[in-house]
Each structure stands twice: as structure tokens, then as C-alpha cells.
């Protein structure tokens, strides 16, 4: 069951006051402009045992994504498509506030929002990933481990997921005597586009992208917007606050512009188009 939580009142109040003072002067506590992303480092092929992998540092938030490709049964209603599953775990290494255990609602939301961006953009052409349509299909697991958490896990996890997919090699499976055999060979993943997530938060009247953990502690509302070169493919408003229609339309426009810069970086790093 979903339930609202919060920090001690005084602390929350003082923190918000300092944050508001800075924002009212048009600046963030770390000196960035509202539309600035923190430094972004992406490294691929960091896990040799995985079929694809990436490590992303967005400011001090750090995420590793690893891909394992197997075969399995198709999803119900999607019998002639490969299956793609994104999971996320915020490791207890990531901050003093994480407890080991099954994912809570925030982590479930994180995994589902990242999954949605990849799925709805149709980044991977799942139509090409059925071995025996209706019976056996490729199953692509993208598992994300958040190693250090300093805000905006949505974007950091999404970039790690997308970079891992772009870097992945597809093992060539074949049917022999009605059994799946790994030929030991690989080929390119069938890719169509590169989705990019941009998350913004509202604090008072200010809307800023790529928030730190400190900024998230003061946020009134959050929005995560996934774009492709053609437009939008997934959106998730989060946190117990609201946006005006105008703020949403501006955030959407910002997501397109800032997203293009990240997309260029991903293209350059992986040599893939989309």
C-alpha cells in the first residue's frame, strides 16, 4: 500500500528556506542554472559476463546496468515479440537511508518508469526477437544497480539502461531438435531509436532539471519526460505536488532540447544511430 512519508519538520523547513533563497536569486546551491545538467560520464562494456553493460555517473549518482539475454516464453498477448524486462535495485551501498530488502514503491516506480521509456520508444525492435513465435522468444533482462544515490535516479538509471542496450551484442540462438542452442555467435541488437529521459522538479515557482538529493528533499513535484528525436514517448509526474499546464508544456520543451544533447553523447559513445 502506498503511503506518504517525511523528514523532521524543522530540518525540512530550514532546508527549504535556504533553497528558496538561492532559487529566488535564480541560482542553485551548487551554482548551476535551472536548465543545467550535472557532469555526465558514461562507460560501456564494464561487465564482461553481461551481454551488454554500462556505468553512468550523473553528478554523484552512480548506476550500473547489465544485460543478460536468454530465451523464454513470450508475454501474454505479445506472442510474436521478444520480451524486455527492466529491473532496478537501489543497493544499500547507495545511501545511509536505503535498507536491504524487496523493492519499495519508490524503486518499483523507478524500474517501471525506466522500462516504460525503453518500451514505448520501441527502441529495441522486439518483432525481430521471436525464435518460435508464440512459444520461444528472446528474453532481454536489463538489471540496474544504483551504487551511489545523489538525486535524479530516474535519468541516471535510464541512461545506464539505454547505454547498456546500445552496447549489447545479441547471442544467436537456434532451434535444433526442438531445443534452443546457443551458437556462440552474436549479432547487432535490432535497434530503432534512442530514448532519452529528462527529469525536472518544481520548488516553489522554479522548475529545474537534474536535481540533486538535496534539491529533491525540497521539491514540490517531479516530472520525468522521455523523448525520441520525433517527440515524446513516456512521461511520469511524481511526488505529491502539482504543476500548472504551462509549467508542463515548458518542461516538455526543455526535455526535448536537453535530451538531444544526451542523445548525441550516446550516439558518439556507442557508434549507434537513433
Amino acid at each position: 500500500m502506498s503511503s506518504s512519508k517525511r523528514s523532521p519538520i524543522i530540518v525540512e523547513h530550514l532546508r527549504k528556506q535556504a533553497m528558496w533563497d538561492a532559487l529566488s536569486r535564480g541560482k542553485r546551491l551548487d551554482g548551476r542554472d535551472f536548465g543545467d545538467q550535472r557532469p555526465l560520464e558514461i562507460e560501456i562494456d564494464v561487465i564482461k559476463k553481461a551481454n551488454g553493460s554500462a556505468r553512468v555517473k550523473l553528478g554523484d549518482s552512480e548506476v550500473i546496468a547489465g544485460i543478460k539475454i536468454e530465451t523464454g516464453e513470450p508475454f501474454e498477448g505479445l506472442e510474436s515479440k521478444g520480451a524486455l524486462i527492466v529491473t532496478a535495485e537501489v543497493l544499500p551501498t547507495a545511501s545511509p537511508h536505503v535498507e536491504p530488502g524487496p523493492p519499495d514503491e519508490e524503486v518499483v516506480e523507478l524500474a517501471r518508469v525506466v522500462d516504460r521509456g525503453v518500451r514505448e520508444s520501441e527502441m529495441v525492435d522486439l518483432d525481430q526477437l521471436a525464435l518460435v513465435p508464440g512459444k520461444i522468444v528472446y528474453t532481454i533482462f536489463v538489471d540496474c544497480s544504483v551504487i551511489n544515490a545523489d538525486g535524479n535516479l530516474f535519468d541516471a538509471t535510464s541512461y545506464a539502461t539505454v547505454a547498456a542496450i546500445l552496447s549489447a551484442r545479441l547471442p544467436i540462438f537456434e532451434m535444433q531438435d526442438s531445443k534452443v542452442v546457443d551458437t556462440g555467435q552474436t549479432k547487432d541488437m535490432p535497434l530503432r531509436t534512442i530514448p532519452v529521459s529528462i527529469t525536472a522538479i518544481r520548488i516553489g515557482d522554479s522548475v529545474l532539471i537534474d536535481p540533486t538529493a538535496e534539491e529533491e528533499a525540497c521539491m514540490d513535484a517531479r516530472i520525468t519526460i522521455d523523448t525520441t528525436p520525433e517527440g515524446f514517448c513516456a512521461i511520469q509526474k511524481g511526488f505529491a505536488g502539482s504543476f500548472t499546464i504551462d509549467q508542463l508544456k515548458k518542461a516538455a520543451e526543455t526535455a526535448r532540447i536537453k535530451g538531444e544533447a544526451v542523445r548525441a553523447k550516446l550516439r558518439e559513445l556507442t557508434g549507434k544511430n537513433g
Binding site: S2, E106, I223, G231, F232, C233, K237, T244
Partner: protein, 228 residues
């Protein structure tokens, strides 16, 4: 294309609850019941200066085309969260320190747009429970079918190549408290779709108000409205 499916809201359908509403939204049949403000268990979850809001969105096993496993799915966990976050901005939680309000939304029959219908019903149930509110939370989805932006998509329309954008909205305050998107929209389509969803929210808002008036003022109101 710019019309809602048939929407019917009945207030006060669950006898034991502090507030409740039953919504039929197209083929959706959804029950919302509210308990609270009441004591929080376990006590350490209470907040000293405001009320804790808890929310459960759940689908009955018989509500879907294929039987749904009764255990809560990851989808239900996520919807419970966004539903709570869509309702919270409308509530004056600071009026009930150290207490809890529980909102239970049960989907008895599902159709497209169940989360919006659930939010609309929950909002009416909260009002029925007498919780202090800034506004009712209206909710409605818009989307894309065959490259056209349309209001309020049902199950059979919500298919591949389309897009679905559920929205929750506080009409008096002009605030959006839920916005999700599944599917591809061009920048122009995005703006059109958002505007259309907001217009749908406003239609739902009228139905919500009417249902509450109907319960609390009964035929009197209806007659007044008819004579206007």
C-alpha cells in the same frame, strides 16, 4: 471523439466506510472507500504536523479479461503511488496532525482509464468522508488512436501504435496532479492531447459535483437544476 464514455457516480455505497463512492466509467466498475482521519498504526508512522495519506489501488481477480492473480502486482504498486500523489495536493492534511486517512480503490471490472476513474471516485469518497479539501480531483485520459488525438480511450482502442495520457487536475486551482504518457506523440500532439485531457477532466468534475449534490441535497437540487 471529444465525448466521454458514460460516467455514473453513486455516493455512499459502502455502509461501514467513513466515505465512499462507486463509479461506472465506460465498462469500468470501481469502488472507492475512505476510512479516517483515524489513529495511525504503527504509531511511529504518524507525523506531528499533518495527516498521513495511504492509498491502495487493487483489481479483483475477476475484473480483467484473463484472471488476475490476487497478490498486488508491480503495476498496482505504482498506480497506488501515483494515485496517492494525485489526491494529496487536494487535501488539507495539516488539519489532521498525527492521524491517517486510508483510501481503498477496488476495481471490480476494468476498462481503459481505470486509474483516472479510480482517482475520480476516490476524490468523491474523500469529500463524502468530510475531509477538508481544496478542490475535487477530476481525472480523465486522452490519447492517440490512428494518429488522431481523442478523448477518453477504452480498452479496445488502447492498442499498439497508440498513446495514452492519463491526467488528474484540480479545476478551481488549475493544477495538474497526475500526468503520465505511454506511447509516442509529436510535440504538437502532446500539447493537443494534454489540452484535451484537461477538457475531459472538467467534464468529469461536473459529474463528480452533481453526484455529491445528489446525495447531500437530493431531489431538491435536481429540480433546481432543471428549472435553471
Amino acid at each position: 471523439m471529444d465525448e466521454l464514455r458514460e460516467v455514473k457516480i453513486t455516493v455512499g455505497t459502502v455502509k461501514n466506510a467513513d466515505g465512499s463512492a462507486f463509479i461506472e466509467f465506460g465498462k469500468n466498475k470501481i469502488l472507492a472507500a475512505v476510512y479516517g482521519p483515524r489513529e495511525v498504526h504503527p504509531k511511529h508512522m504518524a507525523l506531528p504536523d499533518r495527516c498521513v495519506l495511504r492509498c491502495r489501488y487493487h483489481m479483483s481477480p475477476f475484473s480483467t479479461d484473463t484472471r488476475k492473480n490476487p497478490a498486488p502486482s508491480r503495476r498496482e504498486v505504482e498506480i497506488s503511488k501515483v494515485m496517492r500523489e494525485a489526491l494529496e495536493p487536494a487535501l488539507m492534511l495539516e488539519d489532521y496532525p498525527r492521524a491517517a486517512i486510508d483510501v481503498y480503490v477496488e476495481v471490480l471490472q476494468s476498462d481503459g482509464g481505470s486509474r483516472c476513474a479510480g482517482i475520480a471516485a476516490a476524490s468523491v469518497a474523500l469529500a463524502d468522508a468530510g475531509i477538508n479539501m481544496r478542490d475535487l480531483v477530476a481525472a480523465c485520459a486522452a490519447g492517440k488512436v490512428d494518429e488522431k488525438i481523442v478523448l477518453d480511450i477504452n480498452d479496445t482502442e488502447d492498442k499498439e501504435g497508440g498513446a495514452d495520457m492519463p491526467v488528474a487536475y484540480l479545476p478551481r486551482l488549475d493544477q495538474v496532479t497526475l500526468l503520465q504518457l505511454d506511447g509516442n506523440l509529436s510535440p504538437e500532439q502532446f500539447n493537443e492531447c494534454l489540452d484535451k485531457a484537461i477538457s475531459g477532466c472538467k467534464m468529469v468534475y461536473e459529474i463528480q459535483k452533481k453526484a455529491l449534490m445528489q446525495k447531500y441535497f437530493g431531489n431538491e437540487t435536481e429540480m433546481k437544476e432543471e428549472t435553471q
